[in-house]
Symmetry: C2
Subunit: 198 residues, 2 copies
């Protein structure tokens, strides 16, 4: 019996810009999709009334959702703030919690905010040339602290990982990244409770 | 019961050079380790008698060998030839055949030579900014056709993939990359037989 295998393939990452030349899954996340995510709700509504701008884009290549495959693509997070809080991605756990993700930073300045279901948290700086390993079990959200340039990363995660946005949507991350005196600072989210107490 | 999770971590890729700032697995593959791999055995022995030069290096970060983890690092393949055949890596299948690998090319010019146990083959050009997806089931070997610069790639593959060098060591790839009139050309390996006929 003949075994038909998928052929190898290539794609280019355009810089600056970050678009993947070949992709079959493009997400454009606009401000309107992020209600409730930023601390300053009043400022959020003002900005949204003015323009439903795009906050970030993800270019991805679909692969079968099996553990031998690798989902990969680019993430482009635009610069800006809602009040004093930097633009960020929604952030998520993987649906299969025990799966990792690797990032390689192509352009820009930012932070990855991470936390576990057990209540641990971590923040790592993102800068060009840096590799970040998000071990299994850590929710992750990227934040653009660069002020003017897009934060562009190349990401890879296991084919069977999936996404769980619900836990973050309902409670948020326990840490926020805000601008203080012109510099990024990590601060506590108000009213955050560990998952086990929710 | 407390769940202790590995903390997120970062590493820098130094360019040019390709070394990873944090790694716990460094491979330096010298000419002496590549006996039998190049077609021109006489020229190989002459070169080896002159100097046991390093052909390529791999910097990698160990992770648990489970499907939720991602092994990742950098590969630095130096420029040069043995006779008319460009410097190349040994090449391998993954021990768990049905596992993929993703490459992002950081520097240099080259080719990825790939083949399946069923006898299909493929060659993709490697150039900076390009992403290459090696689907599950494809043996892969990189070749530096750049002449002067190192070929540097960032790679990611599933934690449970493992390596199988034996199949390639015994039979080689069915395609070689050689220089003809100053340009790389893909040619047939002499006496190559599909795996099922061996």
């Amino acid at each position: 019996m003949e075994h038909t295998r998928d052929k190898p393939f290539t794609a280019e990452i355009a810089l600056p810009g970050g678009a993947l030349s070949a992709y079959d899954n493009h997400t454009l996340r606009r401000l309107s999709a992020m209600r409730g995510y930023f601390a300053d709700a009043e400022r959020y509504e003002q900005m949204l009334a003015a323009s439903d701008i795009g906050l970030y884009e993800v270019y991805e290549l679909h692969r079968p959702e099996s553990s031998g495959e690798l989902l990969h693509g680019t993430s482009i997070l635009h610069p800006g703030k809602v009040g004093d809080e930097y633009f960020m991605t929604k952030g998520h756990f993987h649906a299969v919690l025990e799966t990792a993700e690797v990032y390689y930073v192509l352009q820009g300045q930012g932070m990855m905010v991470m936390e576990t279901p057990e209540g641990d948290w971590a923040v790592e700086e993102l800068c060009p040339g840096r590799v970040l390993y998000v071990p299994p079990g850590w929710a992750h959200r990227s934040v653009n602290t660069g002020g003017e340039a897009d934060l562009i990363t190349f990401f890879v995660y296991p084919g069977h990982a999936g996404h769980d946005y619900g836990s973050i949507e309902s409670q948020g991350f326990r840490k926020r990244v805000v601008e203080r005196d012109g510099k990024p600072r990590v601060v506590d989210k108000a009213r955050w409770r560990p998952q086990e107490e929710r």
